[in-house]
């Protein structure tokens, strides 16, 4: 019945949230699926591309992707647009107005947020986008719901004539859990409100409708009103669709929650009553009022911003949440426990066991929390410390947290492990040269952002995708640096949003050196194709390769240098020359990524001549993971590094060792 790669067992499948979203979209009859890679959303489209009869492809950036989805919808097809949270900022221009025009074929906008910034530059809470644009939002809490919500989102979209936002977080997208294809609670909520779903909406012949899709003021004003009226209907749907669920249990304790926070809270306080919000914008006012009237004490548990808490307070119901749970980072089962102890729902027993607090009453609760700063990190830590006092171990409550590593150090010093560029990464030599040249470097987002970290330490900014060239122009205009400004950007980022700012730089006669680290892939997110690779997800046979150099030549920039990043000396010399020339010039590197599309391993490997090495540590400063400490010392007791088996033979270190003590291993 299903595709073999789904590996069903007793009508169940073990899937990540992202895979479940892909499967659900397929079952929801999406015809066109597009997006730009970004952690934690990147795995959806590659998985969906395994299914047949659906067009799946990477787009040049999120704005273009959403525009493709909109066009498909105008053409009466269902479309999926996937993005990470910050990618929706890029697509926010079409998104905000699409919310007014509405759709023909259903549109699912999948935003994968990244609380705690596992791989992101900020941790914005995209639930606010639903409110901002007045569009409905679904928040799955496991793979089952990822599948189910993605499948029904298209019906909701078409029935209410609106795009639907499905918002996941890293812990949903990258968690594996079981999808039961026979689960009995996967009804179609639209059938509850309307038995006659108009199936004719999709797959029609194209027709014009300028009042719907041409947002000039006269039509736009009318559409905005329609969007406001729609919100009322959506709120009614939120109450009756069955997507938001009340689970009555002990009526003394009530928890209102959504997403993965529901799973944490449910495991920690199974005896509490729950209002689980899945259709979390607009919120179900009637359900909330009912829940609040029946349950004595209620707390809101949500990750990041007090979104639910503030929305509910707008109904005139004052509930607490962020007083007990942090407004930053991810929640964890431990932070949920801690918050529930703080608000008085739980009492801590010995040995880290908890029980519901039978003495609980809401008055003592509000008094005990006079400290309004309970959300700041310092305060949280002091709280952790109190918890740990009874333990014979002085261990932090959340070891994964960077800031807690210091406290871990008190036990046994385990140094922090920063992520690093791979062995043989062609970016290494460029950053090492930039470090030697001591110029200001405006940076960007990709693997090469790691060039900002020690020991390379040669990138000075990373704020948004495509920032580098614009920021370089601004830094040049500020005249605050005597040295010429350099800007680095990857090939995928250049296509995403670097082209426009390089044109602007040429147009305004800005002076800086633009370095394009072309490794022919979108490496950080797992090696996705882009216009420069000449391949694509849908069908590589019909992909064209767009030449970066020709684009730049077309801008009228004449000084363009190609460099071989594995030849350190010529890389350094070219950079030095370009950075001493008072014009806008461009350097393009040409060595491919060592991981994608295939793992590279050259036959010539290198070793350090430990008999001659003087322990100067120069090779250590390029940050290659294959160069590690050996047990040997020099005569002067300096540690001698060694190259381990992970060396792929890129030869960069050979050029760095000016003494010539790094030698090729004879074959």
């Amino acid at each position: 019945m299903y595709f073999s790669f789904l590996k069903t067992f007793n009508d169940k499948i073990l899937l990540t949230g992202n895979e479940a979203i892909a499967f659900g979209s397929y079952e929801g009859k999406a015809a066109i699926a597009v997006g730009y890679p970004g952690t934690p959303s990147s795995e959806i489209l590659p998985f969906l591309s395994k299914f047949k009869g659906i067009y799946v492809n990477w787009s040049i950036n999120e704005k273009t992707a959403l525009e493709i989805a909109i066009g498909a919808s105008i053409g009466y097809k269902r479309s999926l647009f996937t993005t990470k949270h910050v990618g929706l900022n890029v697509a926010s221009d079409p998104f905000m107005t699409l919310a007014n025009t509405g759709v023909r074929g259903g549109i699912l906008i999948l935003s994968a947020d990244d609380p705690n910034m596992h791989s992101s530059q900020n941790e914005q809470d995209n639930r606010y986008y639903a409110k901002f644009a007045k569009v409905p939002m679904l928040e799955p809490s496991d793979s089952q719901e990822c599948y189910y919500f993605s499948k029904i989102a298209f019906d909701i979209s078409e029935f209410f004539d609106t795009p639907v936002l499905v918002r996941t977080t890293t812990r949903i997208s990258h968690s594996r859990s079981i999808l039961n294809l026979n689960a009995d609670d996967m009804h179609n909520p639209i059938e509850i409100v309307n038995n006659n779903i108009d199936k004719q909406l999709i797959n029609q012949k194209y027709t014009k409708d300028i009042e719907k899709f041409v947002m000039v003021p006269v039509y736009a004003r009318a559409r905005h009103k329609i969007a406001i009226d729609r919100l009322k209907k959506l709120r009614e749907f939120s109450n009756i669709s069955g997507l938001n669920k009340i689970e009555y249990n002990d009526l003394k304790y009530g928890i209102i929650t959504s997403g993965v926070s529901y799973q944490y809270a449910k495991e920690i306080m199974p005896d509490a009553s729950f209002l689980k919000l899945s259709f979390s914008y607009p919120l179900p006012d009637i359900l909330i009022k009912e829940f609040c009237s029946k349950v004595k004490n209620i707390v809101v548990i949500e990750e990041l911003e007090p979104f639910i808490e503030n929305e509910i307070s707008a109904f005139g119901i004052m509930l607490k949440g962020k007083e007990f749970f942090p407004q930053f980072g991810e929640l964890t089962p431990d932070l949920v426990k801690e918050g529930l102890v703080k608000n008085g729902f739980l009492t801590e027993l010995s040995g880290k066991k908890y029980t519901s607090n039978q003495q609980f009453n809401s008055n003592s609760n509000s008094n005990s929390n006079s400290n309004s700063n309970s959300n700041n990190r310092k305060n949280n830590h002091s709280n952790n410390q109190n918890h740990d006092k009874n333990e014979n171990l002085n261990i932090t409550a959340k070891t994964e947290d960077f800031n807690n590593f210091n406290r871990q150090d008190e036990i046994v010093s385990i140094p922090r492990r920063l992520p690093a560029l791979c062995s043989g990464c062609p970016h290494t030599s460029v950053f090492y040269a930039l470090k030697k040249l001591r110029v200001p470097v405006m940076g960007d987002i990709g693997c090469y952002t790691l060039g900002a970290l020690p020991p390379l330490s040669s990138m000075d900014s990373c704020i948004s995708m495509g920032l580098a060239f614009g920021a370089a122009q601004g830094l040049y205009l500020s005249k605050s640096s005597k040295k010429k400004v350099a800007a680095v950007m990857g090939d995928s980022t250049f296509f995403h949003s670097g082209i426009t700012s390089l044109i602007d730089a040429k147009y305004t006669n800005a002076v800086f050196t633009a370095i394009i680290l072309d490794n022919s892939t979108t490496a950080m997110t797992g090696g996705q194709d882009h216009p420069g690779t000449g391949k694509n997800l849908a069908d590589s046979a019909i992909a064209n390769k767009i030449d970066i150099k020709k684009i730049i030549e077309g801008m009228g920039i004449t000084e363009i240098y190609d460099i071989d990043a594995y030849d350190y000396n010529s890389t350094f010399n070219t950079l030095k020359y370009a950075l001493n020339t008072n014009t806008l010039n461009v350097i393009i590197t040409n060595k491919p990524c060592v991981l994608y599309p295939k793992k590279l391993d050259f036959s010539n490997k290198f070793k350090i001549n430990s008999d001659r090495c003087i322990g100067c540590d120069l090779c250590i400063t390029i940050g290659c993971p294959s160069i590690i400490i050996s047990n040997k010392l020099t005569d002067k007791n300096k540690p001698i590094p060694m190259i381990d088996f992970s060396c792929i033979g890129c030869s960069i270190c050979k050029d760095i060792c000016v003494f010539g003590f790094i030698e090729q291993i004879a074959e």
């Binding site: 952690t39 596992h118 990258h174 594996r176 799973q263 920063l418 992520p419 400063t621 400490i629």
Partner: protein, 197 residues
């Protein structure tokens, strides 16, 4: 009735932490348990510290493990074992590589690394976590003929502390390693499974 089991897998990016999580979770899945795992992708995979949380049992809500409540810690790097030791308690089976790797980042900032013995002593003696099993997997793997199966040995060792059957593990392992390495991985798994006996 059997209770839920929580397994924390940790190591350095690129060591196979995510793949191990997949193998264990599929084994639990094919034995009809409810199972949830949580992985980290992206930035952390570039040589950073990586952990996968895995929980299986009759009914699982949270994919994340609470502090002091892992039943098994499976660690491919001794430094990471120490970093995540907060998830252990006195009963936890800690299956770890007996050595850790660390890449020095600069000559000026000399980091003093604790010795393997000091970490193991700290855990076994000071914390009194008796169920620590430190195994020199690289040495054993080299003897087997492929250093890359080192982690399979540890998976094998940890497997004996789970409720999952040997045959299920082997089936899933075969499906998830490169075809050429099936035999040596199977050997490594079975060796690891018996190593503590």
């Amino acid at each position: 009735m059997k209770t839920n089991q929580s397994i924390l897998i940790c190591g350095i990016g690129g060591q196979g932490v995510v793949l191990s999580g997949k193998i264990i979770s599929l084994s639990a899945f094919y034995e009809n348990y409810d199972v949830k795992t949580s992985e980290v992708h992206g930035m952390s995979q570039r040589g950073g510290s990586v952990s996968t949380h895995l929980r299986y049992g009759e009914k699982i809500f949270t994919p994340l493990i609470s502090m002091h409540s892992a039943d098994i810690i499976l660690s491919f790097d001794l430094y990471e074992t120490m970093r995540y030791i907060g998830y252990a308690n006195k009963e936890t089976k800690i299956i770890t590589a007996s050595e850790g790797k660390y890449i020095r980042r600069s000559s000026s900032n000399q980091i003093s690394l604790p010795t393997s013995k000091s970490i193991i002593d700290k855990i076994k003696i000071d914390f009194n976590f008796k169920n620590l099993f430190a195994i020199d997997i690289e040495k054993i793997a080299r003897e087997l003929g492929n250093v890359k199966v080192a982690n399979t040995i540890l998976i094998g060792t940890s497997s004996q502390f789970t409720y999952l059957k040997e045959q299920t593990w082997l089936n899933i392992l075969k499906e998830n390693v490169p075809a050429k390495t099936i035999d040596i991985n199977e050997k490594a798994f079975l060796l690891g499974r018996k190593i503590l006996n």
